[in-house]
Symmetry: C2
Subunit: 330 residues, 2 copies
Amino acid sequence: MVDEVTLKDGVAEVVLSVPHKNTPICERLERSVKEAVQHLNEELKLAVRFSEMTQKRRAQFMNQVEGGPKPAQSQNQIDKVVAVLSGKGGVGKSSVTSLLAVALARMQQRVGILDADITGPSIPKMFGLREPPIMGDFGLLPVETDLGIKVISVNLLLPGEDEAVIWRGPRISGAIKQFWQEVFWGELDYLVVDLPPGTSDASLTVMQSIPLSGIVLVTSPQDLAGMVVRKAARMAVHLGAPLVGVVENMSYVLCPKCGEQFEPFGPSRTSEILQHIPVPFLGQLPLDPLLAETCDAGGVESYSLDTITPIVEAVTERMAKESRTPQGSR
Amino acid sequence: MVDEVTLKDGVAEVVLSVPHKNTPICERLERSVKEAVQHLNEELKLAVRFSEMTQKRRAQFMNQVEGGPKPAQSQNQIDKVVAVLSGKGGVGKSSVTSLLAVALARMQQRVGILDADITGPSIPKMFGLREPPIMGDFGLLPVETDLGIKVISVNLLLPGEDEAVIWRGPRISGAIKQFWQEVFWGELDYLVVDLPPGTSDASLTVMQSIPLSGIVLVTSPQDLAGMVVRKAARMAVHLGAPLVGVVENMSYVLCPKCGEQFEPFGPSRTSEILQHIPVPFLGQLPLDPLLAETCDAGGVESYSLDTITPIVEAVTERMAKESRTPQGSR
């Protein structure tokens, strides 16, 4: 609580930071300080002043006083936070999140995944994770995948993966904040946040409460998906969240019999997103039956990274550039 | 406000329904009634009694008193309300909603679509609707498609289809309630409600505030989608909303070159939904590039109904059966 100690003209001034000024505890603190100083030097003149804590400091202090675990947040060192956003459901946000995390982990990066899709969490199943996270000294410990990717998701906390989370907005937002503030992520190079569809509570909370380094937009070739993705992109621009680029997923499929490559969702209309939102195009990904099967079996870490790698390289390159230009960072 | 008039043993009794009993207005009303009756027959003995309105009747009365437009809800006669639910995004809820509505309209049914996907509304684009709804005597008038399907969606009310609706839960719920209560649907055989992904505010509000006759679940072959659909189904069971059946969408695709039929999302895992949730299987729909293109061009009413028709027949049959058995209705 000692904010500052100064010695001037033979008078020592001690400034104590207190939750609120003019409370009984201030007198007691003043007495304690005077006794302690006199014990060291009976001659010294002493003045004790009080400064009032900010809300943030107050919250930390209360936490310490309550003797609970220290907030994980103050222990975490997370270099970059990337959110995977679409607005539209079912375009492959969770697949892109997972493959991005796997590719980064294979590049020797320390990676975490925060599954912000509270009512439709897909990440644990894709990695075959089932055991619940345990409580550590600083907060909830994420569950680690075979590659060492740290994962937190509502589905790891439910008694069964089919359980429905029937929560209104405030509880959804509360859970996401807890995943950010009260999970002991430790040191990470990248935390990848998997967002749910929509531009309501979950997306708002992630954009307002988590310091995002960049947002990767995922779309599918359909203009119908593109329209909803453009809404999400506008939301990000509106809230000042930095867009890294657009990935088009499920762009083409290969016929397993004749090898013909065709477009199951029709020709790409992603150029219409790029016309409206000034954001680079990061690349296309195929619709691959093997990815669906691999994810259902919990084996996304064994899936080929051939198609995702150029996209991940573009993302990391752009984000390194962003963090060098101050106007691009937050 | 006149509830009942009886004549017995030479005494006329008039029962007036009032918002609350024992208020000053009761005396004034009693005087008015006595004056009016004496004006007709000076000899008649008259007793005036008061009954208190129910909450619902009171709300309607207050609305009348305020001189605003009569609530649309009291004018609407909607025979059956079917919600299309998935929990998971991008499995084709909006396609199923639209094709269901088109098939019903072709069967000479009067059909409306309430687009409850407030942040990602797809219905207007699929039908090529752009003009805003106008205000009628009883409330907002839905926009009609070529086939006469009445549509209400947030996207019809926005200045541009790309505008983001960045609302937290309560406003989402408020909009859905307005679409139900303040839109003049008139007489409909079926109102089809297109739900957004998730089991949060929008789905909760639809299940709690709209008297649903049945819910059609939509899934894709992936178990990952199925898991989220099982969550949504549990929510419906939990809230007592009646499940009609499950449709599996994007089950197979045809190679345009060699005609091979294959499974772009891997083999069907829908049987695992049926193991856990006691609900009939209504059928499979293909992934068809032509449907994506047709919807992007606003022409869903011209799309072939071959694959959806057996599903719609199963839905109408099941719902007719439900409404004959009292325990199945609400």
